[in-house]
């Protein structure tokens, strides 16, 4: 079957999708966006976390056909998503309620090319700038920069899912308590860091977000 949905603000379609295929498989294998990671395939690890109409979900548990006509944000589009949000105020797509309505965060706005992240850009997106160690000079989302600065990345496999989940937390809660952070990230497993540096990164991003406002 053929499915159409919006990925990182641009309309996309995939052909020859098997009816039992997951959204994760379509993103990774058909659209060439391997940022969302495939690990447990049962919703245990959170490494495939994406936003579906603004709501964080495990892409491995969404049937591809269920994404038809809906709005998906992956880690490849996170920097642009965060930028649009910063520029247009708190206009995230259905932050906590699952209202299913796309907001004005550069999503679903057609093919003008000025908003969202094209498939090609997303496929080639890398956290490289003038300095590949610090991420300086690149278009990183604040949460991505905070992960680098806090040393929250070791092997990096869990990082995309954590970034998407943490970014959504900071979107709806500017000053999360440690308990809020733990709960928001409770569906994301990391086997390297012991989580402490990840908590540091989210606190850092929250503190920086507070400074800007």
């Amino acid at each position: 079957m053929r499915v159409h949905f919006t990925v990182n603000g641009r309309p996309q379609e995939a052909d020859d999708v098997w009816e039992g295929e997951s959204l994760l498989y379509v993103l990774r294998e058909r659209m060439g966006l391997p940022g969302s990671k495939n690990a447990c395939e049962q919703g245990e690890c959170g490494s495939c976390t994406v936003r579906l109409d603004g709501v964080p979900v495990c892409a491995c548990l969404v049937a591809a056909g269920q994404a038809e006509g809906r709005d998906v944000v992956t880690v490849e589009g996170l920097a642009d998503f965060a930028k649009q949000r910063a520029e247009h105020g708190s206009c995230a797509t259905g932050a906590s309620g699952g209202s299913g309505v796309s907001g004005a965060c550069g999503s679903g706005q057609g093919t003008s090319g000025t908003s969202g992240t094209s498939l090609q850009d997303a496929q080639h997106w890398r956290a490289e700038g003038t300095d590949s160690q610090t991420g300086e000079g690149t278009g990183l989302a604040p949460i991505q920069q905070a992960f680098i600065d806090a040393g929250a990345v070791q092997c990096g496999f869990c990082t995309p899912g954590l970034l998407v989940a943490a970014d959504e937390l900071l979107e709806r809660n500017d000053s999360p308590s440690d308990a809020d952070i733990r709960e928001a990230l409770s569906g994301n497993l990391c086997r390297c860091t012991g989580y402490e540096t990840i908590l540091d990164a989210v606190r850092l991003a929250a503190a920086r977000q507070g400074e800007v406002v």
Partner: protein, 297 residues
């Protein structure tokens, strides 16, 4: 495999009538796991996500009509006052990502003895509204819904539409044993609801029998003991001997097995502990203390 996407409830019923083996998928948190692991290859998948009424709820005078696909995250955030036990249970489901997708309809459809919603639904008392194109809708009392391990009273051509849950008229609690707060299938779980209007207490036990069950002998004992002691009126502390006997009877109602998550004897013990604690919490709350819906998770 065919992927069917009915736009309305009527269309979904027609699809299910035509293809009784079709597997409904809403949150996908059970169905997709089975497909990903090749444990199931249904001929037809029926996507229920487009049917908006399944995502809605209505708060009536006596009951809340909860759409089958209302995600757990909304139950725990928006129905805490009306359905405190179910809200607490919802909060213990897996992780935020799963709670954003999964709902009570899927829990009932899967009918696992470990389903987190079931003890809360049994304790609160509810009826499951199911419908078929041929015979229209019917209400199945929750006590008659679970018929075996992962089996329920649904006919092949029926779909779960909503659950009519009694609004809380007294304190409710939910407790669950697992290795951590998030991402656990219950080793065992316990729900309790005080119903001051009828002066009764209802219970629900999860993961400690082939199906979710009520501890009926324990309820009958407690109802009689509370009545006899005038506890509903005088609001006294429940005596330790009553609480102990209630816990023993709850423990005795369990019929668990040894498995990877725990042994039968541990489960029996834990059910008793949870019964005693949750009774204490709800009764303190009934007596006017501030425990309310605080307590777990």
């Amino acid at each position: 495999m065919d992927f069917l996407r009915p736009a309305t409830w009527e269309e979904a019923l027609a699809v299910k009538a035509e293809h009784p083996t079709a597997v409904p998928i809403a949150g996908g948190t059970d169905v997709m796991v089975e497909i990903n692991f090749d444990h199931r290859r249904p001929e037809y998948l029926v996507d229920l996500n487009r049917i908006s009424e399944l995502q809605d709820w209505h708060v009536g005078e006596k009951t809340v009509q909860l759409g089958a696909s209302v995600p757990y995250s909304r139950i725990m955030e928006e129905l805490r006052a009306e359905l405190p036990g179910l809200a607490l249970a919802s909060h213990t489901v897996a992780s935020p990502q799963i709670r954003n997708r999964g709902g009570v309809g899927g829990n009932l459809g899967t009918a696992s003895p470990a389903g987190d919603a079931h003890p809360a639904l049994l304790a609160a008392d509810c009826e499951v509204e199911v419908e078929s194109q041929a015979r229209g809708s019917r209400l199945i009392p929750i006590d008659a819904f679970f018929t075996g391990v992962k089996r329920n009273a649904l006919e092949a051509d029926e779909l779960i539409k909503s659950v009519h849950i009694k609004k809380a008229e007294g304190p409710q609690q939910f407790s669950k044993v697992g290795t951590r707060n998030a991402m656990v299938i219950a080793v065992c779980a316990f729900g309790i609801a005080l119903h001051p209007e009828t002066r009764t207490v209802r219970t629900g036990i999860g993961s400690a029998a082939p199906t979710p069950i009520r501890a009926k002998a324990a309820e009958e004992f407690l109802n009689a003991a509370l009545e006899e002691g005038g506890f509903w009126d005088n609001g006294k502390i429940i005596t330790p001997s009553i609480a102990k006997r209630f816990a023993e009877l709850c423990s005795g109602a369990a019929n668990p097995i040894d498995d990877v998550r725990g042994t039968a004897s541990y489960r029996r013990h834990a059910v008793g502990v949870m019964a005693r604690r949750t009774l204490g919490w709800t009764w303190e709350s009934y007596r006017g203390k501030s425990r309310g819906t605080e307590g777990v998770a």
